[in-house]
């Protein structure tokens, strides 16, 4: 076994610290910090999800029954901020922390102390953000996009801005760490073009993060000084321009949405070959497609702003650039299907979620292509069509990939198998209810329902009720997920083998399950046929 050669024998005398505080709060261990990130992300997923439940409950039928419109706006704003910065991004950082060193044969992250700091900033950032809900004046209610002048009318601007600063610092440090790890800590023989696609996707994502988080920090700082120090960056009466904020915000915001999907591409590119028992189709094309999407993400920002009155040339440029993204994204989808073609497939829970990802993310991609057509976007913009679109790419895209990856590596993390039956129950409930939740929102948007409204005309009543029912059941289904994870961590008796899945390839499966506290203290010897993507020689 490979791990006999690579795995040190003195783990026992420097294993995990016994003291709870020392182990978790002072950790510099990539696995423990990865776990912290994942647990934090799960907690935020449920907090953000509870906000969504408030939204869907109020929209269950026409008329205001539960909350005042201002509180509704706080809910939509906080739902987005918590889900984006609290649930999806930390989940990917957690998966990266856990798996990147294991996948490239490194003993730990390159900068372990910074790793600790970048995680422990997050609880404070979210304490700051969530505390606004309990303060006089309430939480931010101007949308997660924080468009001035509206966002400046709130009383919680300073809290919001400092929370965003903290999240940004955390993300930048996480990104630096990942780049440093991938570029410096690979085991000898792990060439860049032999790395798993997930590692590639994170390398590219990390560069996106470093490029755009400072842009967001700058934009929100200008909001702060506009609000409290009398500047007029975005105040027309003082010579500023409210649209300028939107340009700066979306210059961050569009790469940001790819920050939330590129690692998901990587995850799915690990899982599908494993369960198809066939190497990933077109490895180089996959890597190149991720890089092209990352590049294009910098030149499409104004497609979020087709209705602000851009000049004709601008509309045309951003429309064409946006449409181009369909090409590399299409290549990825075709390659996943080709990976499955001619394979020998089994359908364990991670594979089911990965297949659902490919189908439902593609549906999100189709609505994305429709939104890219500027004249049609004059109708779709700021309607439920857009809401449906980005939930298809974020929930059934990013979050399904995260769930798939959790099932995929959970046995490696815990040393026990999760319950396949309950995993499948979770899958079928999720995939059915998420479509009941979001598919009717396409129709609502096409019928003319604007987004971010707390109440609506009775013409929209039926689809809203269906969507709300789907929402409640989708939310409830995620409790099954918590049950499966808790069972696997604490109660499962079924031992996981080192190579948990029959078709699994890659270095992470050469270490024991559960992965010991320290791994690859001596670099492993790389055998090319052990790597996830098979033949890489041309």
């Amino acid at each position: 076994m490979a791990h006999d050669a690579t795995h040190d024998h003195h783990d026992d005398h420097h294993g995990a610290p016994k003291n709870f505080f020392v182990r978790w709060c002072m950790s510099t261990n990539h696995k423990d910090i990865g776990t912290l990130y994942l647990v934090f992300s799960l907690l935020m997923f449920f907090i953000g999800g509870s906000f969504a439940m408030v939204i869907r409950a109020e929209l269950f039928k026409p008329g205001l029954q539960l909350v005042q419109p201002y509180f509704f706006n706080e809910m939509t704003t906080m739902h987005a901020l918590v889900m984006i910065f609290g649930a999806v991004m930390p989940a990917f950082v957690g998966l990266g922390n856990w798996m990147i060193p294991l996948m490239i044969g490194a003993p730990d992250m390159a900068l372990p102390r910074m790793n600790n700091l970048s995680f422990w900033i997050l609880p404070f950032a979210f304490a700051l953000l969530l505390s606004t809900l309990f303060l006089p004046g309430g939480g931010p209610a101007g949308g997660w996009t924080m468009y001035p002048p509206l966002s400046l009318q709130g009383d919680s601007v300073a809290y919001l801005v400092f929370a965003v600063h903290l999240m940004g610092i955390s993300s930048i440090m996480g990104a630096i760490n990942i780049i440093a790890t991938i570029l410096n800590m690979r085991a000898p023989g792990m060439d860049l073009l032999k790395m798993p696609v997930f590692v590639w996707s994170w390398l590219i994502t990390a560069f996106l993060l470093i490029a755009v988080m400072p842009v967001l920090a700058g934009a929100v700082t200008m909001l702060l000084t506009d609000k409290y120090f009398g500047t007029s960056f975005f105040n027309a009466a003082g010579g500023g321009d409210p649209v300028l904020f939107q340009h700066i915000f979306w210059f961050f915001g569009h790469p940001e949405v790819y920050i939330m999907i590129l690692p998901a591409f990587g995850l799915v590119s690990e899982i599908i070959p494993t369960f198809a028992r066939k190497p990933i189709f077109g490895y180089k094309a996959m890597v190149f497609a991720i890089a092209s999407i990352a590049f294009l993400s910098f030149i499409v920002w104004a497609h979020h702003m087709f209705a602000v009155g851009l000049p004709l040339g601008g509309e045309i440029f951003f429309m064409y650039a946006t449409m181009l993204i369909a090409v590399p994204t299409g290549v990825k989808v075709f390659n996943w299907v080709s990976t499955m073609w001619g394979g020998s497939m089994t359908f364990e829970t991670p594979m089911l979620f990965a297949i659902a990802f490919v189908i439902l993310f593609t549906i999100g991609g189709f609505s994305g292509l429709m939104l890219a057509l500027a004249p049609a976007d004059f109708q779709y913009h700021d309607t439920y069509f857009v809401v449906a679109h980005f939930h298809y790419v974020l929930v059934t895209g990013a979050i399904f990939a995260i769930i798939a990856a959790t099932y995929y590596w959970l046995p490696k993390w815990t040393g026990h198998m999760y319950s396949e039956t309950w995993g499948k129950i979770h899958f079928w409930n999720s995939v059915i209810w998420v479509n009941v939740l979001f598919f009717p929102q396409h129709f609502l948007g096409l019928a003319g329902m604007p987004r971010r409204i707390p109440d609506y005309n009775v013409a929209f009543a039926n689809f809203n009720m269906i969507s709300s029912i789907g929402g409640f059941l989708f939310g409830a289904s995620q409790l099954i997920f918590v049950g499966v994870v808790l069972h696997c961590v604490f109660f499962s008796k079924k031992k996981a083998p080192d190579r948990v899945w029959e078709g699994a390839k890659g270095l992470e499966w050469t270490v024991p399950s559960p992965a010991p506290y320290h791994t690859f203290e001596l670099p492993p010897v790389i055998h090319d046929d052990e790597l996830a993507h098979g033949h890489i020689e041309d």
């Binding site: 509206l150 409210p242 429309m319 290549v331 020998s344 497939m345 593609t362």
Partner: protein, 276 residues
Amino acid sequence: MTRGVTTWSGEPYFLNNVALGVCVVIGILVFGAMFIAMFRFRKSRGAVAEKWSHNTTLEIVWTTIPVIILIALAYLATGGLRTFADTTGSEMTVKVTGYQWKWRYDYVEYKGKAIESVGFMSKLDRESDETRQLNSGLDPKNVKVDGYNTYLINVDKPLVVPVGTKIRFVITAGDVIHSWWVPALGWKMDAIPGIVNATWTNINEPGEYRGQCAELCGQDHGFMPIVVKAVPKADFEKWLAEQQAQAKQPEPAAASTAEKPATAQVDAPVSQGHQG
């Protein structure tokens, strides 16, 4: 999506249908291939994994075909954008100003003649407003005009415009950003403080067309609807004359509603975007 009722509103409708059709066809092919793979290449059916992991010809084909489809779509969309951006040759100008949470309409010019003091606020009708209060106990289903439910999509005073006339809208806002959207006209345009956006419509059929603010603008964002009442030209001219006559009378109530807001002048320079 609605086909709309203007000379231009067919563009987004047509593009929507074409793009949807393209997506459905691609979807059937891709998902079809996937489901065939899932049934044919199951381990439980004794499938043995093959070893190949790339095929250059295939990869070139499925990069090229999407590019061709995209070029076709881009061509169609560009035509729609060019006609949309052309606000020249209008016979009438209306200034639209968004406020938290109501709209103001000022009639600026009709057939080359400046109009003075015809302008008014337009806000959510009283019946919807009472019904929409938290726990009002009133049923939104009962808010009707001529048997048609108008809950949250009716106003106290609609914008009256003539049919068969190219109407130029100049759109701005007095406080925060709003967005003026009537689906039947085929577009929405943001109303931004300090910026004047220009756009146009030319309505074919008389009727009442309803819409809502489409950009989050604060607590009552969901409660600032838009109603455009399109009437035959002769009726419009009559209506306009009445309004002008009313404005001339020293009637305090009418004078205060027709008073021009201090901010954002009508003749402020129009954003360059829609000149060409």
